[in-house]
């Protein structure tokens, strides 16, 4: 199936967007499927780097003032009219999902967000994604072309295989910013704390109990060399910043080791740690769902367990230091 990939080059996350889409395409459509790529960008000095991110037969670079979905959409709708493809693929972040749904409305097509799998050879094509807050997997038939899909975040990523770029075009849409219904006041980059890339994470849930204890847990994580994450209630209570949120609405991590304390293990949280190689649950309740979806669990008060763990690890480090 002929496709168009749309990347938001205004975002620092564009490289992972491109890699996850490349992997999705290779798995679901095959590396040889003919495709186009449209990259929106705002920093001209990054243009060449961006153009190399997603080699496609036809590559279009659209310069915009900043990320503003209304501009992206009017450009996309126009391009789709002149040169349609049956499938539009978007990355899994906020912008990808928003653009997929809204573009489908404008083009009269079908949209789905957070798609894990696409069976494009079926008629009608079928997508798989999680529903019911992450507890169930649905198969959904796409009814109307064009299909506008954003892929699930946190899938495997890979560099796209080299494809000969036959045509490259550029478009400048910066003028559009003036007429907008809105004005940017301030943009603050989110300091992610490296959760996405970390090989070891420690996650605190509501069971940790308070803002002070969350802070103490964070210090323990730092001492052990783990990235610090939290569940939704902890972030919503502002015990920790939003950028530390793990799960379906936060970071999807893929560490080798994850220790989760005071976390019940709701599916929406688990989505953010399920790619961990090893999962340890510290929970006072033996019936908490995470106890079953972890590799090992300690059923006890997390604080006492963590304190002893810290003591053991410090001891081990000291011994090592002496031995050397």
């Amino acid at each position: 199936m002929n496709y168009t990939v749309v990347l938001n080059g205004c975002s620092r996350t564009v490289q992972s967007q491109a890699e996850e889409l490349a992997a999705f395409i290779e798995t679901n459509l095959g590396a040889a499927a003919p495709g186009r790529c449209i990259i929106f960008y705002s920093a001209p000095e990054k243009k060449d780097e961006l153009a190399a991110l997603f080699p496609a037969e036809y590559l279009l670079l659209v310069r915009v003032e900043r990320y503003q979905p209304e501009f992206f959409l009017s450009a996309l709708a126009r391009l789709a009219q002149d040169n349609p493809t049956p499938l539009y693929l978007f990355p899994g972040g906020y912008s990808g999902s928003e653009l997929a749904v809204r573009l489908a409305c404008r083009l009269g097509g079908s949209s789905l967000t957070a798609v894990q799998k696409l069976e494009a050879a079926q008629e009608p094509p079928v997508c798989c994604k999680t529903v019911y807050s992450g507890y169930l997997q649905a198969r959904l038939e796409l009814r109307r072309k064009p299909y506008c899909l954003s892929i699930a975040r946190g899938g495997a990523g890979q560099r796209r295989r080299a494809v000969k770029v036959r045509e490259m075009a550029e478009l400048d849409m910066r003028g559009a910013a003036e007429a907008s219904f809105c004005r940017e006041l301030e943009f603050k980059e989110a300091g992610g704390g490296g959760l996405e890339q970390a090989s070891f994470i420690m996650a605190a849930g509501r069971g940790v109990g308070s803002k002070e204890k969350t802070e103490k847990f964070k210090q323990a994580a730092a001492e052990l060399g783990a990235a610090f994450g939290v569940s939704r209630p902890v972030a919503m209570n502002a015990w920790a910043p939003l950028s530390a949120l793990i799960g379906a609405s936060g970071v999807i991590s893929r560490p080798r080791l994850c220790i989760a304390a005071g976390v019940s293990g709701a599916a929406a949280f688990y989505a953010g740690i399920e790619k961990s190689k090893h999962i340890v649950a510290l929970n006072i309740d033996e019936f908490a769902p995470l106890v079953q979806t972890a590799d090992v669990a300690v059923i006890d008060d997390y604080e006492a367990v963590l304190e002893e763990l810290l003591r053991l690890i410090r001891q081990e480090r000291e011994l090592k230091a002496k031995g050397e």
Binding site: Y67, Y132, S133, D295, I299
Partner: protein, 267 residues
């Protein structure tokens, strides 16, 4: 000047309450959730609270309407919203299976808005069950309004500007925007819906929820972009080994010696 603000919300089953073996999917791909308690979809809960704060801080009167599309399960929530000073509490009645048809829900909302003009629509960005993450976006498209998504805060600025905080792929944005627009609420810290006092509840106990038939035309029902073809429980179980021990210290020592020491060495 008066500003009309519509907040759309959905009442959902608290799916985290269902035990792992408790999922029953019937042949029509319906899921039995009748025996778990219901709750406000968390993003919609934040939307309702943000709307109340917005109305309180505005220098002019704000008329607040709360609206849901669905069945009777929303009735008590709508009554609570009256007690919290929503001016109108409306239920667009429908017994259709709307789980995977955000198009139909958006169409019903838009039909209401055409008869009851609004300046601002606030709603959660996504709700469990369908997990479509599409209704506010489709509503904006159908009304031909702009939309700001992942909103975390809304304030009034001057006579006719709104200041919205929101999240984007790699950070936090603050922008000024002119209504009408749809604000799709994301992870908004501290935005839990307040609880009315008994006095507030009593004061509006006779107020009736407005029930209107949802305008989902037959063609609209077919308008869903996708059709559900299968549903299956995801089994995520791992070994789940429970570490035994007389006290937390002993358990921690076992955890460390038998598992963690090796795993930490792998890093």
């Amino acid at each position: 000047m008066i500003m009309d603000v519509l907040v759309c919300f959905k009442v959902v089953p608290d799916l985290d309450q269902l035990p792992p073996g408790g999922w029953e999917i019937d042949s029509a791909l319906r899921v039995e959730t009748g025996f778990v308690k219901t709750m406000l979809n968390p993003y919609d809960e934040s939307a309702l609270e943000l709307a109340l704060r917005f109305a309180e801080s505005a220098p002019f009167p704000v008329k607040l309407t709360a609206l849901t599309v669905g069945g009777r399960e929303a009735e008590s929530y709508l009554k609570t919203l009256y007690a919290l000073r929503f001016d109108r509490a409306v239920r667009l009645e429908s017994d259709a299976d709307l789980r995977f048809s955000p198009e139909s829900v958006a169409a019903a909302i838009c039909a209401f808005v055409r008869h009851n003009p609004q300046d601002l629509i606030i709603m959660g960005r996504q709700s469990g069950v369908g997990d479509n993450a599409a209704t506010p976006l489709i509503t904006a498209e159908m009304l031909d309004w702009p939309c700001i998504s992942q909103v975390t805060g809304i304030k009034i600025r001057g006579e006719d500007w709104l200041e919205l905080g929101s999240m984007v792929d790699d950070g936090f944005l603050r922008q000024l925007a002119r209504p009408p627009l749809v604000a799709a609420v994301g992870n908004a810290p501290h935005a839990y819906l307040r609880v009315p006092t008994l006095k507030e509840r009593l004061a509006c106990r006779d107020k009736k929820v407005e029930v209107i038939e949802a305008a989902i035309p037959a063609s609209e029902k077919k308008a869903a972009g996708c059709a559900l073809a299968g549903l299956a429980v995801i089994d995520r179980r791992r070994a789940g080994v429970k570490i035994e021990g007389a006290n937390p210290q002993e358990k921690a020592r076992r955890l460390y010696q038998e598992y963690l020491k090796g795993w930490l060495a792998e890093l």
